[in-house]
């Protein structure tokens, strides 16, 4: 009887140790299977050479243009030779978090109307004024409640995402830059985020475009490219 008890305790302890080991290993490595990826999509900073742009970046298509052919708006504050590319740098959270919001501060802009949110990316100078990216439970532009950012990996390691909560603050204005839009629509050039994912390394890419609805850039389209490494929460 005593031996049986000792065996039971030992088996239970082994199970606990085993589960603990499984748990600790899953928190440090990327997901290996399909499903929702909840964690941080760490951003590899964009960099420019004379000829190419690599890493994460933002572009803007003029009203009436297309994401494939442009015309793309030149950002004279870009450090890229092709200054329609604005390179993005990781923010204080390292990148885009799924499963929770990365809200903008209050107030979202400083006295000179520079956007201040710096969790996802560092604010980017655009026509002399910084724009800032955030994700918020209520879209600041439309006032519509939006779901938390989510990214799902398929069995073939393709990514799809719901990024309605993404918003840009710039120059006293708020622009929803997610897809689908807060009301669920896909106006104009708005295309849901898709990408690739390597489960063994966590390397990912995410691309989406979001046509601006309302405001001074009504009809213009933000084109976003994020790449980096996913880290599970």
């Amino acid at each position: 009887m005593k031996r049986r008890s000792i065996a039971t305790i030992a088996a239970t302890a082994a199970m606990v140790v085993g589960l603990g080991a499984c748990s600790s290993s899953s928190s440090s490595t990327p997901t290996t299977g399909p499903g929702k990826l909840v964690g941080v999509f760490k951003i590899t900073a964009g960099s420019c050479t004379a000829a190419t742009t690599s890493g994460s970046y933002f572009r803007m298509v003029a009203a009436g243009g297309t994401t494939a052919k442009g015309p793309f708006i030149a950002n004279s504050d870009s450090t890229c030779a092709t200054n329609s590319y604005s390179p993005l740098s990781p923010g204080t959270d390292g990148g885009l978090i799924t499963g929770s919001y990365q809200t903008q501060p209050i107030p979202p802009m400083d006295a000179t109307k520079n956007g201040l949110a710096a969790k996802i990316i560092q604010p980017v100078k655009f026509f002399a004024v910084n724009f800032a990216l955030s994700s918020n439970p209520t879209d600041p532009q439309s006032g519509i409640a939006v779901p938390v950012p989510s990214v799902t990996a398929s069995a073939s390691n393709k990514l799809s995402a719901v990024l309605s909560a993404l918003s840009v603050a710039w120059n006293g204005q708020q622009f929803n830059q997610g897809s689908p839009k807060p009301d669920g629509s896909h106006p104009g050039n708005t295309v849901d985020a898709t990408g690739t994912y390597n489960p063994s390394t966590g390397a990912y890419t995410l691309d989406w475009s979001s046509q601006i609805v309302g405001g001074p850039f009504n009809g213009f389209t933000g084109v976003w490219h994020l790449e980096g490494t996913f880290t599970k929460k």
Partner: protein, 352 residues
Amino acid sequence: MIEIMGNRSEATGWNRRWPLIVGLVVGLGLIAAPLAFQMFTRAPKGGTMITAFKPYMTEKTISDFQKDLGTIGVAVTEAKTQVSPQFEARTGLSAPPAAYQALLEQWPTINKDMSGMLSTMQSDIGDYQAVVALPPFPLFPWFFVAPGVFLVGISSWGLLRRSRGGSPRAPLIALVVLGVGILAAPAIFQMFTRAPKGGQMIDDFASLMTPAKVGTVQGYFLVLADGEGTLRNQVVPGIEHTTGSTAEQLASALPSITGFSARWPAISSTMAPMIGAMSDNLGNYAAVKAMPPFPMFPWFFAIPGVIVISTSAAGLVLARHRSPAADVASESSDPQLSGQPDSNPTNDEEKR
């Protein structure tokens, strides 16, 4: 003889009813007008537009904008005279950047067009204030519906009384009072002076509030923004590099260009929201434009008011000056107006 008296009685009945029927018809017309002109959806949009333009329809804002155009203008002149000659040698750049060229070439057009827009807005500040002083736009349809409902109610009450043999005197008096109220409303709200001003502003804004115009102004913004950025990030640093000047020395040598760059964030942060206000209110402007012309609005009250007053008053007067034959013929149906005690037991029964 009996037949003749019967016809007179019918005629007198009609004479007593027609002011009430007119009141009923005018009331129904007032109720129907906002529906016919889709005021319930359009008027609030007008209110939204008026609110959106509030920051820009002031002398100070427009004056600041005009000063900003001046700031850009002198910077462009300085670039043309101080930088463009021997551009490559002065800046060390192989050629003038496209954005720099675009700013210099397009500035005269931008300046002329933007100045014209600001002049239009400036001339409409008084008109705008007159519109703001009107009752809130979302209430507009209710200014029709509310008196309309009262007219219908009072007229129906009078017709019901008549059908039961009662006197229309009280309903007619009520209609006269209501008619005076309807007639006075435009005067109380100074609609005769304010509404035409609103109409003038709406007409003036027609040239500003089109998708094409918004697209053009968006383009101006991009030319200015890209031009300023190119001056700040390429041209001025190039001159700094080739001449070995410090930033302070350059600011002294090119005060207008450096002044433009220093001022640009403020210009941008005012200009961008204004373009946004224009863009966001295209639909609202179209809704207001689709409503009846503003100068007609006071008449929408004055004319019904006059009709109701005149017909109701006429009804009262006619009732007092009826012929004795008509009185005899209708005595049984209207004891109050004839001033005789009601001898008809049926009427007593009805009144009870």
